[in-house]
């Protein structure tokens, strides 16, 4: 095996990405006395003016990547805060219009838990089942809409599966009914084109650290046409036109701006290269017997690939792949000791959910990384199946569903 390869290999880009060196440089330029360190809210001196200028330039970069007006971008501490601000902000502001919200079972916890909180405050929430392929169907939304539905919230790209929701159709449906539409787009930026000028979306959440920017910074798009209003969740100095108070972290904001500027510039070549890596990986891995792709291959992005290796438990596979950084839907890798709720919502049996590994590729993934990973996977799956009583039963032609298991 190649010795020039850097181990461990990082294939968990959907979890977070390293900061692009160009972004890191930009951040460093906005920290120290000889840099642009000022408070963007300081109106009385040049330090403040210069910092404000940098923040506004970054805002334009973000707006430019997603096709909106810079005045529609509100800085937040990340996508979690953006999701909270959007969902609670709409619910609180428009509660006289209605108290029903529609979302799905495969949303990020930041959306699900914000909705749970609203339920405690007297709102009603419908959690839609996704299709078997991991997308939300228009029919299921239509069936769930009520007279008092005030907000629909779905993710653009699912973080575990990479599946893509059809924002245009969902948005048109929502708009025709006068319902606000929020989209969690934390996984989308730099991976798929977003043109808000052309999309019937009212609010959209973004994160910097999934797109080679720093952690701790994100943004919420709040549409101006049609005008959408939200109730602030963080009160203070009235920053961000009152929607989100708190001194703007100039260095993080310019980091996000630079990351999104680069994403705009390099998206086409990046996604093309990553799709090729994905295809190379998938072609080879699909030769392994009894593997299942989670999420519809024809409706997903190329940077995320979620596979269940039947009869092998996910945590043990991750342990056997110690030179590869990936994540698993196994209960044993989660704090809740439950297998992935996303895979279960697709109707996957618990054991297949527990056998799943999410591979996510990124800007710095090489062909050598992919090939080396494939070698390790083939080896590990073979070894763990040799060790698996379930694999033995499968080879003996025993249907595992008919076995009387002694659960404990």
């Amino acid at each position: 095996m190649s010795t020039s390869i850097n181990l461990p290999i990082y294939l968990d880009y959907a979890s977070t990405t390293p900061v692009d060196p160009r972004v890191a440089q930009k951040i460093c330029d906005h920290l120290t006395l000889d840099g642009n360190f000022g408070n963007p809210a300081s109106r009385s001196h040049k330090f403040g003016w210069k910092a404000e200028e940098a923040v506004e330039e970054a805002r334009s970069h973000v707006a430019n990547l997603v096709g909106c007006d810079p005045r529609e971008i509100v800085w937040t501490s990340g996508a979690t805060e953006a999701n909270n601000l959007a969902i609670k902000g709409i619910a609180n502001f428009y509660q006289s219009k209605g108290k029903h919200i529609i979302t799905s079972k495969i949303e990020h916890k930041a959306v699900l838990d914000a909705c749970r909180q609203l339920e405690r405050e007297g709102f009603e929430v419908t959690y839609l089942e996704p299709s078997e392929g991991g997308v939300i169907t228009i029919e299921s939304i239509k069936a769930a809409i009520r007279e008092d539905t005030v907000l629909i919230s779905f993710m653009h790209i699912n973080n575990e599966l990479g599946t893509i929701n059809d924002l245009k159709s969902i948005g048109e449906l929502a708009r025709a009914q006068g319902i606000f539409f929020h989209v969690d787009a934390a996984q989308s930026t730099g991976k798929i084109e977003i043109n808000l000028a052309d999309l019937p979306v009212d609010l959209m959440s973004f994160s910097a650290h999934k797109t080679y920017g720093p952690k701790g910074i994100g943004a919420l798009y709040v549409s101006r046409k049609p005008r959408v209003r939200i109730e602030a969740q963080m009160h203070g100095g009235g920053h961000e036109r009152g929607m989100r108070s708190g001194t703007l972290p100039t260095h993080q904001i310019v980091g996000m701006g630079e990351a999104f500027r680069i994403a705009k510039e390099e998206m086409v070549q990046d996604t093309k290269r990553i799709q090729a890596l994905h295809d190379r990986f998938y072609e080879s891995v699909s030769e392994i017997e009894e593997i299942y792709v989670n999420g519809d291959l024809s409706k997903k992005v190329g940077n995320i690939l979620n596979i269940s290796f039947a009869y092998v438990e996910g945590e043990s596979l991750i342990m056997a792949l110690k030179d590869i950084a990936v994540s698993s839907g196994s209960a044993c890798t989660s704090a809740s000791l439950e297998p992935s709720y996303v895979l279960r919502a697709l109707g996957r049996k618990d054991e297949l959910a527990s056998s799943s590994i999410r591979f996510s590729f990124g800007r710095f993934t090489t062909e050598e990384d992919v090939d080396y990973t494939l070698t390790l996977i083939n080896h590990a799956v073979e070894r763990l199946r040799e060790l698996s009583p379930l694999w033995e039963m499968y080879l003996d032609g025993i249907d595992l569903d008919t076995v009387d298991w002694q659960t404990h």
């Binding site: 056997a320 044993c332 297998p339 618990d350 590990a380 060790l387 033995e392 002694q406 659960t407």
Partner: protein, 134 residues
């Protein structure tokens, strides 16, 4: 999940040298074989343990053991550890093995205690199966 070095080593040795670590199967129909299988796929772990015994005087001695385990790293390490404890023991001695012995040998974290319980259940069941055949 931060495992002890003992769990990691046991796991890696077992998957890298399965034959040496008694991974395999006996014919469960043989009279000198006792089989125990515990756990469930939906719970994330299944252990299958088989003992091959020989009568010596008025007792029975475990001469060989084979196992297969589907489960997390510590489930695999726990069964492998148990197998090592069983070799050469009489059935009476084997019955004395408790899950805590495995917990201590591998320094299992509290969240993984159930793996050792499963291992204890598997030997109990294997002995029961063997004794029924005698």
């Amino acid at each position: 999940m931060a495992y002890s070095k003992k769990v990691v080593d046991k796991f890696e040795n077992t998957i890298n040298e399965p034959a040496k670590y008694n991974v395999g199967r006996f014919d469960p129909k043989e009279l000198n074989i006792g089989t125990g299988m515990v756990g469930a796929p939906a719970c994330g772990d299944v252990m299958k343990l088989q003992i091959k015994c020989e009568r010596q005087g008025n007792t029975h001695v475990i001469k060989d053991v084979k196992f297969k385990t589907y489960g997390c790293g510590s489930a695999i390490a726990s069964s492998s550890e148990l197998v090592e404890m069983l070799l050469g023991k009489t059935l009476e001695e084997a019955k004395e093995i408790k899950n805590i012995d495995i917990v201590e040998a591998l320094e299992l974290p509290p969240i993984k205690i159930h793996c050792s319980v499963l291992a204890e259940d598997s030997i109990k069941q294997a002995i029961e199966d063997y004794e029924q055949k005698q």
